[in-house]
Amino acid sequence: MSGIITRRAVLTTGALGAGLVLGGCDKIAEQPGFRKILFSGEKINQGLQRALSARTALAPEFRPDQMSPIFRTNGNRNPNTPDYNAMAGVQFAGWKLQVGGLVTRPLAISLAQLRAMPARTQITRHDCVEGWSAIGKWRGPLLGSILKLAGVRDTARFVVFTCADLMGGQPYYESIDLIDAFHPQTILALALNDAPLDVGHGAPVRLRVERQLGYKQAKYIMKIDAVASLDGIGKGKGGYWEDAIGYDWYAGI
């Protein structure tokens, strides 16, 4: 039997060791080299998840009786800019969705035209990065149909959504790659739970990209651009939260 002093020494060392692992994580995460390793997990997870799933593998869809009684709002609940308020005041009557960038036919589509397009209805689960989930019924045209109308050029690799809400004075934006843009469940939702999208949930139109987390589901979409690279847009990380805090651009997990 070893003496109590040894035991206490070991206990202290163990506690110090655990403390150093946890405390040292702050320091080491600030080292650019280690930060690069830490951030490499995103690409590894993206690669593995894409390898494990079919390109068109569908997110689970639910029955009406499985829906959340209340679908909470989150993030910006109202852009509340003069421009947005003017549009919302007339139910987005004069509003047009701009589709441009690397496309052969730039489009400006009114809300009435979007509503007239063939629409997909899907009851899916919204997963916030914070950990909560809500199930709602979304309806809207496929993003892929709109992109086909515009004719995405071969050089395009991403689709960027520019929104009406401002974060730090700049419009919120998000981006996805063409695999998710042309996914059969990726829609521009015009309605939630059989009612036109309200301001809290992203009126007049929001993105639903069902295999990713909530912050990718851009609300208040004003403009959609096909681009070859995310460099030069915002801080180049592909989205507001990606730029501001370092959230993963690929939010499949």
């Binding site: 946890l22 995103e42 959340s68 950990g131 909560w132 997990i253």
Partner: protein, 250 residues
């Protein structure tokens, strides 16, 4: 108290080979996995604590948010426990989702190695009779007397050790991995059976928390027993592989 060394000679004559002073107890794959896993699990607990702080409510079923009824509201995780120490969900996720890969593939590698080198079959297989009440009670008494090793076969794990290690290796860590994968919307599309297995995403998050609590409990007991069994010998054996048989030679 019986002197174990003395009793060896008297009732049943033992084979002439004397019990060796030290035995080779932990093979290299076991040792590598133990330490890699220790660091990984500490990082997973710390970063997981930050992620839990983002929405400290747990639900059962397919969904769960602020207007729904949680079955449990875990306490706020203190900053000395969380990675990073200040609240930063984005950075916590970077830690968690990178080291989740180390946890998953580390377990896979360890399992393959332990099947090949027969560590599982030889050391962790629970044998008939070990679960008999008489045997369990005997081992409880031995534990209370701080005797953790069968003097006849000191290298063997006792039944409680076996049950603890089997629970962690085959139940708790796999439950962590599977419930964690279920939280991924992309994996829900790739492997929809995950949701059926867990009973929905909100349930998976609860399973993730419960299994993590089980692992924390294991760590507490494991550390306490390492201290009671003699920390220098136990930790040393997990570094060098060589373990000193605690009983003194006659």
């Amino acid at each position: 108290m019986e002197e174990p060394g003395a009793s060896l000679d008297e009732p049943t004559p033992r084979p002439v080979t004397p019990s060796p002073e030290t035995i080779y107890r932990h093979r290299l794959p076991t040792r590598i996995w133990h330490w890699v896993n220790m660091i990984t699990i500490l990082i997973m607990i710390g970063s997981g604590a930050t992620i839990l702080n983002a929405h400290p409510h747990l639900y059962w079923g397919n969904y769960g948010a602020n207007f729904d009824r949680p079955w449990y509201n875990p306490p706020h995780m203190p900053s000395w426990l969380t990675i990073p120490s200040h609240y930063n969900l984005a950075l916590a996720r970077r830690w968690h989702l990178l080291f989740a890969l180390v946890l998953g593939f580390g377990l896979l590698g360890y399992m393959i190695a332990s099947l090949v080198n027969r560590h599982f079959q030889r050391d962790l297989r629970v044998r008939a009779g070990e679960l008999a009440p008489g045997h369990l009670w005997h081992d409880v008494k031995e534990h209370l007397a701080l005797r953790f090793h069968d003097p006849e076969n000191p290298a063997a794990y006792n039944i409680f050790q076996k049950l603890a290690y089997v629970s962690v290796i085959f139940v708790l860590i796999p439950a962590m991995i599977l419930s964690g994968l279920t939280l991924s919307p992309a994996m829900n599309a790739a492997w929809p059976w995950l949701l059926d297995l867990m009973g929905g995403r909100a349930s998976a998050r609860s399973v993730h928390f419960i299994a993590a609590t089980g692992i924390v409990l294991f760590i507490v007991i494991h550390l306490a027993l390492v201290l009671l069994a003699g920390p220098i010998n136990e930790i040393g054996s997990m570094i060098t592989g060589r373990w000193r048989v605690p009983e003194k030679k006659p």
